[in-house]
C-alpha cells in the first residue's frame, strides 16, 4: 500500500477535528471534536507502526496508551462540563466569560442555594 493513503487520512481527520474544536460552541461538541483529533493521531501512529515495523511496537503501544488517556480525559471533561452546567445553567462555551462562580442568579428556576446564600451574605 502506498504510505500516503493512511497518513493523508490522518491529516485530514486532524484538520476536521481542529475545525470542530474552533467552530463548535457547545462544550460536549468540542469534546467530540477532541476525540476526532486524538483518533487522527492514533491513526497516524498505527500506520507508522505498519510502515516502520519497530521492534518495540511503539506505534501500537502508544495508541493503546492514547485510547486509555482519551477515556480518562472524556470522563473528567464531562464531569467538569456537568459541574459548569449545574452552576451556570449553560454548557455554551461562548457564555463562559469568567472563571469565578457566578454571583448573580441566572433565572428564577435556576436559582441554586449557593447563589441565594451569596446574596444573603452581602
Amino acid at each position: 500500500m502506498h504510505a500516503v493513503y493512511p497518513l493523508v487520512l490522518g491529516a485530514l481527520l486532524f484538520a476536521i477535528g481542529l475545525y470542530g474544536v474552533l467552530a463548535r460552541r457547545n462544550a460536549i461538541a468540542v469534546l467530540m471534536a477532541i476525540e476526532l483529533l486524538l483518533n487522527a493521531v492514533t491513526l497516524n501512529l498505527v500506520s507508522f507502526s505498519a510502515i516502520l515495523r519497530d521492534r518495540y511496537g511503539m506505534g501500537q503501544i502508544f495508541t493503546l496508551f492514547i485510547i486509555t488517556i482519551a477515556a480518562a480525559e472524556t470522563g473528567l471533561g464531562l464531569a467538569i462540563v456537568l459541574l459548569v452546567y449545574r452552576q451556570r445553567a449553560t454548557a455554551d462555551l461562548g457564555e463562559q466569560r469568567a472563571l469565578a462562580e457566578p454571583v448573580e442568579p441566572v433565572t428564577a428556576d435556576e436559582l441554586s442555594p449557593r447563589n441565594v446564600e451569596a446574596e444573603v451574605a452581602r
Binding site: 500500500m1 500506520s47 452546567y85
Partner: protein, 181 residues
C-alpha cells in the same frame, strides 16, 4: 509471509473507501446541527477507524477501539448530552460566530499537513500483510510487558486519579446542596 484475505490493490481500494466513510462521518460530527446525531455520527467514525486499524493489521487495537470508543465513550457523550439538557432538536446557534476563522484554520492545517506528508512519503510503499505478527494480542502483550511496563503502571495510576477526580467533581455539588438545603 502470510497470505492476506485481500490482494494489495483490493487492500488499497478498501482502505480508500472506508477512509471516505471516516472523513464523511467526521465532517458530519463537526457540522451537523443536531447534537445527538453528531454523537451517533461519531460512532460511525470510530467504527470505520476500527476497520482501518484492521486493514493496517492492528487487530487487537481494532477491537479495543470498538470496545472503548464505540462502546464506552459514545455512551458517556450521550449521557452528558442528556444530563446537560442539550437541545435535542436542530439548533441554529451551535456554530455561527467563529465558523469562518475556524474554516480558514482547518483548511490551512489540512493543506500544510497534506503537502508535507505527500512531499515526505510520496516514494514510500509498504506491505501491511508483512506486519501481521506485530498487531496480534500475543505480540502486543509481549511488547507491553517487556518494554513498556513502567508507562503501563503510570497509566493505571492516571486512571485511578481520573476516577477519583470525576467522583470528587460530581459529588461536591450534591454535598454542598445537601448541606445548604
Amino acid at each position: 509471509m502470510s497470505h492476506g484475505y485481500l490482494s494489495p490493490t483490493g487492500l488499497e481500494i478498501a482502505f480508500v473507501l472506508i477512509g471516505l466513510v471516516t472523513l464523511g462521518s467526521g465532517l458530519l460530527v463537526v457540522t451537523v446541527k443536531n447534537l445527538v446525531h453528531a454523537a451517533l455520527w461519531l460512532l460511525v467514525c470510530m467504527g470505520s477507524i476500527a476497520v482501518e486499524y484492521l486493514l493496517l493489521t492492528a487487530e487487537l487495537l481494532a477491537w479495543i477501539q470498538v470496545l472503548i470508543y464505540a462502546g464506552a465513550i459514545i455512551v458517556l457523550f450521550l449521557f452528558g448530552l442528556m444530563l446537560t439538557r442539550a437541545p435535542i432538536g436542530p439548533t441554529e446557534e451551535l456554530n455561527v460566530r467563529h465558523r469562518w476563522p475556524a474554516l480558514i484554520v482547518g483548511l490551512g492545517a489540512a493543506g500544510t499537513l497534506v503537502t508535507v506528508i505527500v512531499q515526505a512519503y510520496q516514494h514510500t510503499w509498504f506491505d501491511p500483510r508483512g506486519a501481521v505478527p506485530l498487531g496480534s494480542g500475543e505480540a502486543l502483550g509481549t511488547q507491553l510487558f517487556k518494554y513498556w511496563v513502567l508507562p503501563f503502571e503510570v497509566l493505571s495510576v492516571l486512571l485511578l486519579a481520573a476516577l477519583v477526580g470525576a467522583i470528587v467533581l460530581s459529588r461536591r455539588g450534591r454535598d454542598t446542596e445537601e448541606a445548604e438545603a
